[in-house]
């Protein structure tokens, strides 16, 4: 329908990601303005999809959709969009959404906006605010045409407005999914035996500024003295200095500790996504222009090694 909003939700084993609720909530706001419906779209196999406060929920139930498969999901969503002509399709700017949003845009020839932090309606037209250039710029854009695809950064809207119990309409896949080139092989769970950083009250988080694997010991000593655990930003994990189970951020874990002590992390949006709701954020970074200083509660432009060593002596 011409003013409807599709919200492409995400679930793993039946548990929906918070971003899905955030988007449903926001979609309802926008749909009200346009006089359209909020339609939550769930793809999966045999899961309970009655979780949203949408006007309606479409549950595409197919064993090929049990695990995320970009090819299968893309084909299904494309078919649904062609069938039902929504005005807006919302994806999460997540590991799954990032495989689908731009693809759908190229397939349909309709505009796509990524890194979205806010959407609103001005004169009946959609206006999107996105954080680009590593968070250094906010772009305000108006997608042209009758269909817009927007990928939203997680942690922007409240989840409450999106939670509900709209009964889902289960249906088979609108397209054949038997000749897929992409096959899910297996899930790789994080290596067991490592700490769960989401359950920690205190985290000492290190970034690129730590310089190398050898220097992590210093952070671990400090963490131990503080009764904390060491976590890290993506570059540290990508370089292999710490396991992925320690990664905080968009492609890592979301944490909400009482103390988040950051050493040498600049504060890129992807990292902020994972920790900005921490109760006490203290950031140490030699760059006084580091974006983290806009988010942290306390900050210092000092050498992280010197501060860590000095703290060790005092504790």
């Amino acid at each position: 329908m011409p003013n409807d909003i599709f919200v492409i939700t995400e679930q793993i084993d039946g548990t929906f990601a918070d971003i899905s609720f955030e988007m449903v909530g926001k979609a309802k706001e926008l749909a009200a303005s346009w006089g359209g419906q909020t339609i939550a779209v769930v793809l999966g196999s045999g899961v309970s999809a009655d979780a949203f406060a949408s006007d309606s929920t479409l549950f595409i139930n197919d064993p090929n959709l049990a695990q995320f498969n970009p090819e299968a999901y893309g084909k299904v969503i494309e078919a649904l969009v062609q069938e039902r002509s929504p005005r807006l399709v919302l994806f999460g700017w997540t590991a799954t959404g990032m495989d689908l949003a731009a693809w759908l845009s190229a397939r349909t020839g309709k505009p796509c906006v990524a890194y979205a932090r806010d959407l609103c309606i001005e004169n009946n037209a959609l206006v999107v605010n996105s954080q680009v250039y590593g968070g250094k710029m906010i772009a305000e854009v108006a997608p042209e045409g009758d269909l817009a695809i927007v990928a939203c950064v997680a942690g922007t809207f409240s989840t409450d407005a999106g939670r509900g119990s709209t009964p889902a309409t289960s249906m088979p896949s609108p397209v054949a999914l038997d000749e897929l080139k992409v096959k899910f092989v297996e899930a790789i769970k994080p290596a067991g035996g490592d700490v769960d950083i989401t359950a920690q009250e205190k985290l000492v988080s290190i970034g690129r500024g730590i310089g190398g694997k050898e220097n992590i010991e210093l952070a671990e000593e400090l963490a131990e003295k503080l009764g904390a655990v060491v976590s890290a930003s993506r570059p540290v994990v990508d370089a292999g200095w710490l396991p992925r189970t320690r990664q905080v951020g968009k492609s890592g874990l979301k944490v909400k500790p009482k103390l988040y002590l950051m050493l040498g992390i600049s504060g890129a949006p992807e990292h902020l996504e994972g920790m900005k709701s921490a109760e006490l954020i203290i950031a140490v970074n030699t760059d006084k222009k580091a974006p983290i200083f806009n988010v942290a509660h306390y900050g210092a432009t000092a050498d992280l090694f010197e501060v860590a060593e000095a703290m060790l002596e005092l504790l």
Partner: protein, 700 residues
């Protein structure tokens, strides 16, 4: 004295010994020749002569270990004397009636004046004593006192034979040789004294009084004495005692270009159309001169003593490097394992971690008594490791990538380089826009590091105060490349040189002035090879001249400071810039005390050779911490109420030592200051500027 049979046997044995010795020498020469071409040498005979004189006066060993060096005099002059002595012994054996005892009064043909014979005998006798004392001291030092300096730490890569004590065996053999040889000869002389004591052979006479004379004894002693020589001569070609002859040769063939100019990565001379990869991977990739180094090495470990990396527990020992090279060559030539020479040096001679621990401070090269250059080997190894895509420390990789893209190692935008200058009250000229007399090459650290910028500004103000005509390149300046070259990235070094030469081309100036010793070194010594020949001065020399010309005058002297001065490696040891800073301190009227390790013997802060990029947190005492302690000990020897200062003239020193003061818990006891801060105070450049420096933490 010898029977005919004895003579024949001796000649045969001598020929065999000579054969082996010549073979040994040839093996060494062949080995050395297989090395790559080395930079050209001029006037070799003169150099060899000069080296010979240096060795004759034993100058080179006294750079360190003065007591042991004094004892070595006994060995040195003793063995030189014995060269003649042994010749005479052979003559005495072969020429009947040729006997120099008792002033030669029994000589069949008395053509030698008795005086000379007596002098000879006395010298020989006393030198025998000196030799025995010296060798005994050294053997006691090695085997009983077990001097730690002769050993290597656990984490240093060692040739298995060295680890198993090969060096001790070698020393023992030669030690026993000297003792037996000299003792036998003394006894031989003693046994020849048939008429009681010869006053010109005091030691032999004493032995004679105890053991009497004996014809048989004379023969036996002669044979033991000279038989040992025949044995030891070929042995020496396989021992560190090749240094007897190779040391003066190595010193004479030492490189003649400036200390601060690295050898080219690829030899300029190409033989037989060889294609050379830059740097070195296997032993014969090294220039022939550095293959010779292995044969000159006396394995004394003086270089290890002065190495800052070794001091802080890193697995680097320049001594182990040369010793391992020698043992590798031995295995490959005398030991018939030539295939070992095809193994990478990083497996046989020095570990990769050790290669990357070097700060390129040059202390090892400077202290070496025989002219070895272990540091140069390390740089060559780095060059090849980079080309071959060895895994690099992430800090170094980031620094190199930043240098390639931004021209500075701190990942800062090019445009930010001149920002400190734009904040000055009196604007600083842009040398690419208007001609200046002095082009001030500022350097990365002084331009970007918040801790150092206040000093940079102070230099600018003092220059302005003196009416010096100067300008900077602003964003057209790139890192001079000194440390890039020493990390082994020759290509990036060339790129930076090109960029800087281009920037210099845009400017008009009489000379280059710099506050950064690393930049000073490469601009002065290496840029000319790339077409950039300029007059380059360190700012301390400029300040001295300004004072001498009256353009700067001291308003108040600073006797309330008690200071010591740290000679930065690249200004001092590399380029001899010791006088200017001291002249300035003298003019400033501070109470000045010299640290024990000063001038050429200064102890590196540990930042060079890429170490400052590595951000590696080293366990144990860091070189800079040790240096601060040395400074405190020096200053506290003269206790008074004055403020204690550690004076530096290098931005990296500023950072390293300020840090060390904190980490050693000495804040409040000693402050690290750049010389410019004292100059500014004495000249009366505005006080507010000094307070700014204090506030930003540059002055601790």
């Amino acid at each position: 004295m010898l029977t005919t049979i004895e003579k024949i046997v001796f000649i045969i044995l001598a020929l065999i010994s000579a054969g082996f010795t010549v073979h040994g020498i040839k093996t060494i020469v062949d080995s050395v020749r297989k090395g790559r071409p080395a930079p050209d040498l001029k006037n070799i005979p003169a150099s060899l002569l000069k080296a010979g004189m240096k060795v004759l006066f034993q100058q080179t060993i006294f750079k360190a270990r003065k007591v042991l060096s004094a004892i070595h005099l006994g060995l040195f002059f003793g063995l030189i004397t014995y060269a003649f002595v042994n010749l005479v012994d052979v003559l005495e054996g072969f020429i009947p009636g040729f006997e120099l005892v008792y002033g030669g009064r029994n000589l069949a043909f008395p053509f030698l004046p008795a005086g000379i014979i007596n002098a000879f005998n006395l010298t020989a006798d006393l030198m025998s004593g000196a030799l025995l004392i010296a060798i005994t001291v050294f053997l006691v030092r090695r085997f009983i006192a077990e001097d730690k300096r002769l050993r290597f730490r656990e984490n240093v890569l060692l040739n298995p034979k060295v680890k198993a004590g090969g060096q001790n065996t070698d020393s023992l053999i030669v030690g026993i040789f000297v003792i037996l040889h000299v003792t036998a000869r003394l006894f031989g002389q003693a046994f020849r004294l048939t008429d009681g004591a010869d006053p010109f052979m005091p030691i032999a006479s004493i032995l004679n009084s105890l053991f009497g004379s004996s014809e048989t004894g004379t023969h036996v002693a002669w044979w033991i004495s000279l038989g040992w020589v025949l044995f030891i001569l070929p042995y020496i070609t396989r021992s560190k005692h090749t240094h007897f002859t190779v040391a003066p040769i190595n010193l004479g063939l030492a490189k003649q270009n400036p200390r601060g100019q690295l050898d080219p990565a690829i030899p300029l001379k190409v033989l037989n159309g060889n294609h050379y990869e830059p740097g070195a991977k296997v032993l014969h990739d090294l220039p022939w001169k550095r293959v010779l180094d292995a044969y000159a090495c006396v394995q004394c470990n003086r270089c290890q003593d002065v190495c800052p990396a070794n001091f802080s527990g890193r697995p680097l020992s320049p001594a182990a490097l040369e010793v391992n090279k020698r043992y590798l060559l031995k295995e490959a030539t005398f030991g018939s394992h030539p295939e070992r020479l095809l193994l990478p040096l990083t497996e046989t001679v020095i570990s990769p971690e050790a290669v990357w621990s070097c700060t390129t401070c040059y202390a090892c090269v400077r202290v070496c008594p025989v002219g070895n250059e272990p540091m140069a080997d390390i740089v060559d190894l780095r060059r090849r490791m980079i080309i071959d895509g060895a895994e690099l420390d992430s800090g170094v990789q980031n620094a190199l990538q930043s240098l390639a893209t931004n021209g500075n190692w701190m990942s800062k935008g090019k445009r930010l380089r001149g920002r400190w200058a734009k904040e000055m009250e009196v604007p600083i000229k842009n040398a690419t826009e208007e001609p200046v007399e002095n082009l001030w090459f500022v350097g990365d650290t002084a331009s970007f590091d918040e801790r150092v910028i206040p000093n940079t500004k102070m230099v600018a103000r003092v220059f302005q105060c003196a009416g010096l005509d100067f300008g900077i390149l602003y964003q057209n300046e790139s890192n001079a490349g000194n440390d890039v070259r020493r990390v082994g990235e020759e290509g990036l070094f060339e790129q930076l040189v090109e960029q800087n030469l281009q920037a210099f081309g845009k400017a008009q100036f009489k000379r280059i002035v710099t506050t950064d010793p690393h930049s000073f070194n490469t601009l002065k010594n290496e840029y000319p090879q790339f077409g950039g020949k300029f007059e380059v001065k360190h700012y301390t020399a400029v300040l001295v001249r300004l004072f001498e010309e009256g353009k700067l005058t001291i308003k108040h002297k600073l006797p309330h400071y008690k200071v010591t001065f740290h000679d930065p490696c690249y200004l001092g040891r590399y380029n001899g810039g010791f006088t200017a800073p001291r002249k300035l301190l003298e003019m400033l009227g501070v109470e000045f005390h010299e640290m024990p390790r000063n001038c050429e013997n200064s102890f590196c802060c540990g930042a060079g050779g890429g170490q400052i990029w590595m951000g590696k947190v080293v366990p144990g005492e860091r070189p800079a911490e040790n240096r601060i302690r040395e400074a405190l000990t020096t200053l506290e020897k003269n206790p008074d109420e004055k403020k204690q200062l550690f004076i530096v003239t290098c931005p990296k020193d500023m950072i390293m030592y300020s840090d060390a003061v904190k980490t050693t818990g000495n804040e409040g006891k000693i402050e690290v200051c750049d010389l410019i801060q004292l100059v500014a105070e004495a000249v009366g450049v505005e006080e507010s500027m000094v307070t700014e420096a204090v506030a930003s933490g540059a002055v601790v």
